[in-house]
Amino acid sequence: MWHPPRSTHLNTLRERPLSPHLSVYKMTRYTLATSIFNRITGVILSVGLIVLIYWLMAIASGARSYARAQEILSSGLFKLVYAGLLVAFCYHLVAGIRHLVWDTGRGLERAQAKRSAGVVVAVSIALILILGYFLFFAGARAS
């Protein structure tokens, strides 16, 4: 006897394979590592947007609210947040450019992809060091 489907979604009528099939890959693969790290850093940056908008709203809301925000944003905890956002920003930027190059159809051979993975890691580390120097060490910053 036919039972009406519980969901109207055709895809859920049967147990179909859903992406991503994480368990079938070796987690040590550089291809997987660079890809999943791009996602993780992207999500971190999404959370970072909250910090950015909070800061902008604090500026717009007057001197007292900005003073309060500055107190929060210059705390030791937020130093950690900035370090995380810095790493996420640099990596996501560089890895994103690699994805844009791929979209033109270039660099998709295995050897090329392996080499560009190394380039992405090297360039983002360099970028992290440069921007990190200005963020944490150059001049006495208020926050």
């Binding site: 999500v43 950015l52 963020l135």
Partner: protein, 129 residues
Amino acid sequence: MKSLRSPLGRVVGLGAAKEGVHHWWLQRLTSIALVPLAVWFAISILSLPSLDRVTVIAWMAQSWTALLLIVFVLVATYHSQLGVRVVVEDYVHNSGMKTLTLVILTFAHALLAVAGVFAILKVAFGGAA
């Protein structure tokens, strides 16, 4: 082999999700825009002499700064919305939970975008001095 797609379906080219490459294409467009915008934003913030209120307002109230900041906030929130949407679609398998998460994230991003633009405009038009 004869294709199972109808001639109309092939011409419209929208596929099973009924939106074709729309999401993918917007993700690329916002990515391309964000490369210079994000670099500009990072350099601008890091080259401010200090982050006290007077300095930040003087910087934000400049027309080009305000304009680029608005574009940056809009493109970044849109790119973020497109990105987290795919992440939720990939990892949240419960259909009700997935819809609820997507609704919340969409509202949150809309709120962030509007709040950001509002704050920048308020400062730019001298409403925060």
